[in-house]
Amino acid sequence: MFKAVMMTGVALGAMLSVSGAALAADPLKIGVATDMSGTYASLGEEVMRATRFAIDEANAAGGVDGHKVEFKSYDTEAKPDVARRQVEKLVMEGYPVITGMIASGEGLAIAPLMQRWGSLYISVVNKADELTGANCAPRVFRVNTQSAMDAATVKPWLKERKEKKWAVVAIDIAWGRGSAELFSKAVKETGGNMVAELFPPANTNDFAPYIEQIKKAGAEGVWVVLAGRDAVNFAQQSKQFGLTDAITVAGVSFTTDGTVKTLGDSAKGVFGIINYSSTLDTPENKAFVKAWTDKYKVPPTNFEGEAYLGYQVLFQAVKDAKSVKTDDIVKALPGKTYDTIMGKLVLRAEDRQLLKPNYFGIVEAVNGELRPVVKTTVAAADVAPEVVCKTK
């Protein structure tokens, strides 16, 4: 609740081995503002794990271009007002490279302030299109998949499906509203129609009224835009009501590596967008998954993968810039191709969105263990969103 959890320099020990010359360079200071106690606390935990992994790895290799990497993190509770306060604190305390926020509203709240504070923000989880679209701001970058890219991925799938009457359950925040709108559009364009659009608030305990309405509307399929605690609550309760077995269930950020582990059988057969999977077949990804598994004993989740990808992009930009000054990093970041765990990806200069492939799959058992399995891959060019952003 009212905790300002703080962690600094977990990686200090690893750095003692670094040569004196490398330590002389200015450190790269990263401020991680993420949810540690709100509805997305488990996602925040995933972001923190990826942060520690990426920073430990970089420091063990002598830092990024000789700069050691330090970080500090604060709890945002997934609330935009708290996020704004915590990010300001991080910047004032000398950690101007900001990342880690979960809810889109948090990212949208701090984005316009980056210019004034002389800091920069790299989104690794925020999905609302506005962040790099209508509300785009200088010094704001996104390496994770935005909602428009998810919508472009779901459309070919919708075309193949028999279900024509769809319902949507989406969290009542910027991401949920935006994603629901894009999904409805995709349904209409593929010849279906929407029979119910429901927007429960964050931290809903009882989803029964929403489940009842989906049933009553006669939906043949439901699109779920819920994550974290809300996703687990909804999945559990809709299974108990027999909804999961009666109609087609699909979603985004709904059945992730994390929630499937929690849910077990309640998640079986649920379709969903997959933004990153530890099973992707690139040499970089295989090396990453191996190193990760050696350290944590389990493969990285989708959010851990995307957060790690954010650090890959940032570190390469720092190398290019040959500086840890935010002005130099901001100049170095856009318009370049980055070597990442998802292959060579371009950070588009016009809106500062990283263009990446997207995946669609289903939760099924692999070697006796349930997890989301990729069934369709859509190339980066096919899901690239339209450029709406006007500022450079």
């Binding site: 106690s37 935990e45 929403y210 605690r229 009501f241 027999g242």
Partner: protein, 282 residues
């Protein structure tokens, strides 16, 4: 419609189980126990460990007994030893306890979300009004009715119940009459905390287990206690059912205002009757 009303009763029943513990403790100690949500959470985790191993009912029993013991300790160590201090001191201590318990659970069970199994006996659905309805939800209604009935009988027909009612009205005068309010309080706080454990296990299969799960439901329980009238047992029962219905029907018919409705109702009640529904006591 029948199903919707039933859903409202389920959520109301859960709120009642949690709120009545608050009412019991408030009645005797005149302290709002901020740690109640954390105790609910702790009870849920204790039950979960056994339920995950296939012993759901044993988990329920162990959780209730363990939380009763925790409640007795809480009464002796916190409420009794601090009773001469200003109430705000005790309230702040309970708030500190909330933070400690959250941390203890985070260290023991981790932060990852956990999913509670439904006991085999209560798995599945029955058809009500042409629609499948989970048997487990009916079980929640039964449990809350049993607790409400049991408590009402205990308070009305036993000597100890009489003392509790007396002490809830005025603890000072009651002790002048020769009743050991401290001993009474030990039982009542133990019972209230045991009910937090019970509701934690019963709510488990509906909710996601996380160290902060208590916070999300405690607010609703506070509203129930305020609307029902601080320290009123019957008031809490009817207020819980009302809030359950408002949650449910609000989400269907007034979705844009659903989160506000319980608060608006609370404000309205406080203006109309500052002591709550049944708050006739001074």
């Amino acid at each position: 419609m029948a199903i919707q009303l039933l859903n409202g009763i389920v959520y109301g029943g859960l709120l009642y189980l949690l709120a009545v513990g608050l009412v019991l403790i408030f009645g005797l100690r005149e302290v709002v126990n901020f740690a109640h949500g954390a105790l609910f959470m702790l009870g849920s985790y204790i039950g979960f460990t056994l339920a995950a191993a296939g012993h759901w009912w044993l988990g329920l029993l162990v959780s209730v007994v363990a939380m009763a013991a925790v409640g007795c300790l809480l009464d002796v160590l916190v409420f009794r030893s601090l009773r001469k201090h200003d109430h705000i001191v005790t309230v702040l201590i309970t708030f500190g306890l909330l933070l400690i318990l959250e941390t203890v659970v985070t260290v023991t069970w981790g932060k990852a979300y956990l999913s509670y199994p439904v006991p085999k006996l209560l798995d599945g659905t029955v058809t009500i009004a042409g629609s499948p309805f989970p048997i487990y939800r009916l079980f929640i209604i039964v449990v809350s009715l049993l607790v409400a009935g049991g408590l009402a009988a205990w308070l009305r027909y036993t000597r100890m119940g009489l003392y509790v009612r007396a002490a809830s009205t005025n603890a000072h005068v009651t002790s002048i009459q020769g009743i050991d309010v401290d001993r009474l309080s030990l039982v009542v706080v133990g019972l209230g905390t045991a009910l937090a454990g019970l509701s934690g296990v019963v709510a488990g299969p509906l909710l996601t287990l996380s160290p902060t799960m208590g916070n999300y439901i405690l607010i609703d329980s506070f509203i129930v206690v305020v609307i029902g009238g601080l320290g009123s047992f019957a008031g809490a029962f009817f207020a819980a059912l009302l809030i359950g219905q408002i949650h449910n029907l609000g989400a269907i018919y007034l979705p844009w205002a659903a989160t506000m409705l319980p608060f608006l109702l609370m404000i309205g009640i406080l203006i109309w009757r500052p002591t709550g529904f049944a708050g006739s006591r001074t």
